[in-house]
Structure formats: structure tokens, C-alpha cells
Symmetry: C2
Subunit: 232 residues, 2 copies
DNA sequence: TTTCTCAATTGATAAATATCAAGTCAAATA
DNA sequence: TATTTGACTTGATATTTATCAATTGAGAAA
């Protein structure tokens, strides 16, 4: 890793509170690289050699079984992925590929584990990050089990609207195929779900969506902070 | 907590490697109680005041939204629940109720967080436990998105068979209503799924299930260690 | 034993979701 | 400009899953 990049990395919340010595020891053997889009970073089943941090861009976590494949999550800056596999010294449960040109930090697993042993502040930061990841999956799982496809889409739109300033106009952060997979439905059904939401003021224009009747949409979506809130 | 119970608690993997001093500080204000079945221990949305450890019995984690309710997980001895909420000092995402008479350890959240600050060995044990919980939910989520209801049941039966010695006869660990909810299907569909599996050697007798043609069942189920294996 | 209760099953039907096959449209390319 | 490409949409249909209603059956209570 280049010396010039260190200050930027040091500013990331995960690495901000750790001791200087731990920081240096970790980033001796770390990589900080820019990947083009559609690069497969890791494959499920392989041993967890690195912890990954998305600094810029976007990474899709996906998984397959039988012949099917599904998008499990999208990792945006600044987010980690595959943390649990690293901590457990186990294999990856998900594959990862860039879906944009992305700057990715890669830290050898053994260095992460050693740093946790040494550095309480870093251990605390890792615990917070891992707990957040856990809660995010639980929320996803609740959404999938407790909501229909249309409800999942409606709540997702409300969430993106909030995250983008709540103006009533939002940009879908990835293509519809990916969004459909993330929401657990076929691409065709995403189109139909958008149509179902038309009477609730959802106007789609390419990857822009206008919400013209948020009150009605919320009535249908029944948002629930224990599913939709990314902070709690 | 009674003095006589301390050795038993000390033997639990989570508390085995921690320092004596930390151990004593934690269990000063802890509760170790036996609850009858069907007791609501916590409710989703409430602040996480305690970390719970199931020492004997069984606890159902469930969640609701809209009018629906679903079983999220069953916690067997010795397992924790609601760890992430405790670590994040946040609210519970799931509710919990005993489904048998159960001995439960309850440790005040702030004591857990203080102990992590102080005690590296305990922090390491907590990280391992949390990472395992995370991976368990990811596997559940993969199963739900990538498999049909019949496949989920088939794999679950194979898993219980393995866990119970692989004799080809297994006891369903909870009633079928709960199993159905856990597997993400209606109770009626669980019955039908069992019927669908009959040609694959699945013979149901109350809560006992015999697997008379494991090879055929595996052919249908296509078990996948990255979903079904609880150890990896 | 008989009755009662409740989980589980079965049947009929409805709703949700997936699949297959065209078709549309806009951006990229020639 | 014409063409190609690929994502998205739409329609028709099949499959999966849920719901409602009725029935069964085993264990608990009388």
C-alpha cells in the first residue's frame, strides 16, 4: 500500500480509533487497489484470506445453490464485507463482484485477527461493525419472510427516498435486474410490482422514480423501523 | 445468582477463557433462572437490557410485521440470543419466548460491554459467538432465497438426521407448526411437503421421521455445506 | 371409558410468484 | 443514418405457495 493513501484509510471509522502501532502493522501487508466493474473479487467456499473494505464504488455480494443465484447484499462505501469469515478463519459464504469501478482495501485475515488480539479499541470497532452486519441480515430476513414482493419494493423505495434527501425523487442505485434479485423476486415481477404501485403514486422513468403520494405509499408499505431502519 | 451455580456457568465456552475478575464482576448482577414454557422473555423494539444465554431448554426467536408473524430461529443450549442488540446498545429486533421449561442466564448489557472493554479473552469469545450468529443468519437467508419449500424441508431433515447420529430416524425438535414457520411456509404446506417427500423415503410418524432412502433424498435436496453446515 | 381439545392433515380454491416468449426502447456501434 | 445490443417490459401460462373450510386423530380431562 502506498504511503500517500494511509491518511485516507486512517480516517475510516473502523481504523480511526486504533493505536498507531496496530495501524502500521495491519497496513504493512494490505492492498489498496482500484478494480474495474464486473470483477470477481471472491468466490463462496474459498478460504477467507482477506478482509475487504469498499472505499469507493459498489460491490455486490451474491450466492448460488442448485442452479440458482441471488444477490445477497450491496456494499457501499465505507462498508466491509466477509468480516465474519475472517474472524472465524473460515470460508466465504458469499461471492463478491464489483458492480462499478471501485477502490477496495484488502487486509490479510491473519493481520486482522492479530490486531484484534492486541488492540482493544480496534476489537471494539470490529464488534460494532459485525453487530451492524448481523442486524442488517436479520432485517433482510424479516423482510423476506414477513412481506410480499410488492411490499418489499414499496419499502425499499421509501428507504431510498429518505436516504437521498426525501425530495420524492430518487435514483435507483443499481440496475433493476440486481434490485429484483436483492428483493427476492424475478426481474419480470419487479416490473409488475412497479405497475402495482402506480396507483400509490410511484412513477418510474428509467432509473429515476418519483413518489407523488408518499402517504398512500406508506399506507401500503407499512414501514417498520425494525426492518427498514439502517441505523437502529 | 447463587454461588452454587457459578461453576456450571464458568464452564460455558463463552465464559471459560475470561479472567476471574471479569467473571466475578459480570455475575454479581446476573440472573440464572428457570422459566416455564411459553414465557415471553423479550419483545422486539424494547431496549436491550440483558444478554440471554440458554443453558437448558429451548427458546424461540420470532418477529412480526403487518399482521404476520414468523419464527426466526430456535436457540438451543448453549446458545446466546440478542447479542448484537446488547453490543450495539440498541433495541431488540426479535422477540423471544421459551418453548420448553428452560434455564436461562441473564446478564445486564452494560456489564457485558464493560467486560469486553476490560477483558481481551472475553472480547475474543464474544466476537466468535457473534460471527457464528451472523453466519447462521446468512445461511438461513440463502436457504430461503435459493430453495423451494420442499427443498428446505428435505435439507432440514438431513441436518437433523446428522445431528442425531445419522441413524436414519430422527425426532423433530419442535412441533410442526413451529417448524413450518421456521422454514418459511404455512403449516398446511409442511404437511404437503412431507407428502411430496414420501417417494424419497421420508416416512412421518408423529414427530418421528424415518429416512429410508437418504441417497434419493440427497439427490432431491442437494445439500450444500455453505447453507446447511452449522459448523463451517 | 367418553368427551374434549388442539395440532395436524386433507381438499378446494385463490393468490403470489416464476417462467417462457415476444415485443419495446434507448444507448452504443458501425 | 441504420443496425445492433441488451436491459426492460408485457402478455400468456405454469408453478408454487397461501388461505379457507372441513376432517382426522391422538392425548388430556372428565
Amino acid at each position: 500500500m502506498r504511503l500517500a493513501d494511509l491518511p485516507e484509510v486512517r480516517a475510516i471509522h473502523l481504523f480511526r480509533s486504533m493505536e498507531e502501532e496496530t495501524f502500521n502493522s495491519i497496513f504493512k501487508a494490505a492492498y489498496f487497489q482500484t478494480f474495474p466493474e464486473q470483477v470477481d473479487l471472491i468466490e463462496e467456499g474459498n478460504p477467507a484470506d482477506f478482509l475487504y473494505v469498499v472505499v469507493e464504488g459498489c460491490v455486490e455480494l451474491h450466492a448460488k445453490a442448485n442452479g440458482r443465484e441471488t444477490t445477497m447484499a450491496m456494499v457501499l462505501p465505507v462498508g466491509t464485507f466477509i468480516l465474519a469469515a475472517v474472524l472465524n478463519d473460515s470460508v466465504y459464504l458469499m461471492s463478491a463482484r464489483t458492480c462499478q469501478k471501485s477502490r477496495i482495501l484488502m487486509i490479510p485475515s491473519q493481520d486482522i485477527r492479530a490486531a484484534i488480539e492486541k488492540d482493544k479499541a480496534f476489537a471494539a470497532a470490529i464488534i460494532r461493525e459485525l453487530a451492524n452486519c448481523y442486524r442488517a441480515v436479520v432485517k433482510e430476513h424479516k423482510g423476506l419472510k414477513l412481506r410480499s414482493a410488492v411490499e418489499r419494493l414499496a419499502n425499499r423505495l421509501l428507504r431510498y427516498n429518505d436516504a437521498q434527501g426525501g425530495s420524492g425523487s430518487l435514483l435507483l442505485p443499481f440496475d433493476k435486474r440486481t434490485l429484483a434479485s436483492l428483493l427476492g423476486m424475478a426481474p419480470e415481477n419487479l416490473s409488475r410490482a412497479f405497475n402495482t404501485l402506480k396507483p400509490y403514486g410511484v412513477v418510474v422513468d428509467g432509473s429515476t422514480v418519483h413518489l407523488t403520494d408518499i402517504k398512500a405509499l406508506k399506507m401500503l408499505a407499512k414501514p417498520n423501523s425494525l426492518i427498514d431502519d439502517r441505523v437502529i
